[in-house]
């Protein structure tokens, strides 16, 4: 008698699908649990993109400075202002900075901050605000001018951080977003500070 292979193949395929389904369900549960337990895990209930989930590449290229860029328009729509390099430099040289009346806020993550930030800048990643808010928020309330920056180019952490500070009650008219970010700052040969804030590890401008 010849055995018909069709039902046997169907059974094997069914087993394969069942196995994949079991792996998918257990894997998904394990994945969400691991994210919850991870100190770097995402908070599911937090909107990381208060400016909207539309991709940046769907928008025209982000200008490094200048007031006609899409970034400037987005900031303006939220009552914030874009700082060009000259403005950032002017605020950095402002003597009020020594008394925290002019505040620089670095919105990048901890590793990037440690590798080099604008001297005296405070660390404030908008994606982990709970780590920094207790220190940064009172300072921002006290400050007269706040300059928020990130890497520059396509990075949007500075915009997100600025919106976060605004939503936390900081008046929008004292918040500047430095669009060129640390990339433009270092390219312009300004000094940067390595390690923690006021570490004294100042990397002077070349030449």
């Amino acid at each position: 008698m010849i055995d018909d292979p069709a039902p046997r193949n169907q059974g094997r395929f069914g087993n394969l699908l069942r196995e994949a389904l079991v792996v998918a369900v257990i894997g998904a549960m394990a994945a969400f649990l691991a994210n919850q337990l991870s100190p770097r895990g995402l908070k599911l209930s937090r909107n990381y993109f208060p400016g909207g989930t539309a991709p940046l590449t769907a928008q025209p290229a982000r200008a490094q400075n200048g007031t006609n860029s899409p970034l400037a328009a987005r900031l303006q729509a939220n009552g914030l202002r874009l700082a060009a390099r000259a403005r950032a430099e002017q605020l950095f040289q402002d003597p009020r900075r020594q008394h925290n009346l002019v505040l620089f806020v670095d919105a990048r993550d901890e590793d990037d901050y440690q590798q080099g930030h604008i001297p005296g800048a405070y660390e404030f990643s908008p994606y982990h605000p709970e780590k920094y808010l207790a220190e940064v928020l009172p300072l921002c309330q006290f400050a007269e001018q706040i300059v928020v920056y990130c890497t520059g180019g396509d990075c949007e952490a500075s915009e997100t951080a600025a919106l976060y500070l605004k939503d936390a009650g900081i008046p929008a008219d004292k918040i500047w977003v430095y669009g060129g970010g640390i990339t433009e700052w270092t390219n312009a040969s300004f000094s940067v500070e390595r390690g923690v804030r006021n570490s004294g590890e100042i990397q002077p401008p070349p030449g």
């Binding site: 394969l16 699908l17 069942r18 196995e19 994949a20 389904l21 079991v22 792996v23 998918a24 257990i26 894997g27 998904a28 394990a30 994945a31 969400f32 691991a34 994210n35 991870s38 770097r40 895990g41 995402l42 908070k43 599911l44 209930s45 937090r46 909107n47 990381y48 993109f49 989930t53 539309a54 991709p55 940046l56 590449t57 769907a58 993550d109 994606y127 949007e156």
Partner: protein
């Protein structure tokens, strides 16, 4: 006594299968871990694909996907539920390849460069890569996943051929 050509071939296939499973498993563990260590960066890259417009759904995918990849990688390394895992891995790779290709074609138009000169961070875990190299890599991994899927991935560790049963 000489081994028959059939058993020699089976031995080679056995070694190749275990290596394929370990390679695929290790790759998924490594790439998943890189994303799990920088979940916000992965979230931002994921958003660039413009596939999900709800921030909660985007968070859910970005938080679970890296760990799910690690989970599948470990199953493959350990040889547990290999065919089911290989099916999931193949499905993920096929989907990733399609969306990466779609984005590369869009960038090719925007940047006005030859297709293979398109270089971007696809969020795959390996940083910025040239699209042609990425597609080759994905094709290889898909091949490995299919190899395991057709029933050659079951043995947990490579075993030497058993001694013939006494007659």
């Amino acid at each position: 006594m000489n081994a028959s050509p059939t058993s020699a071939l089976a031995k080679v296939l056995g070694v190749a299968t275990v290596l394929a499973r370990w390679t695929l498993g290790a790759f998924f563990v490594y790439m998943g871990a890189r994303k799990a260590l920088a979940p916000v960066a992965f979230l931002e890259l994921l958003r660039e694909y413009d596939l999900v417009h709800n921030w909660f759904a985007l968070n859910a995918i970005a938080s679970a996907l890296p760990w799910f990849e690690i989970f599948c990688g470990f199953l493959l390394l350990a040889g547990i539920a290999v065919r089911g895992t290989a099916l999931l891995v193949a499905a993920m790779l096929a989907f990733f390849t399609c969306v990466v290709l779609r984005r590369a074609l869009a960038l090719e138009t925007v940047l006005a460069v030859p297709f293979c000169a398109v270089k971007f961070d696809c969020g795959c875990g390996g940083g910025p890569e040239f699209i042609c190299a990425k597609l080759r890599e994905n094709a290889l991994l898909l091949g490995l996943a299919f190899w395991l899927l057709v029933g050659r991935g079951r043995c947990v560790l490579y075993q030497w051929p058993r001694r013939p049963e006494p007659v």
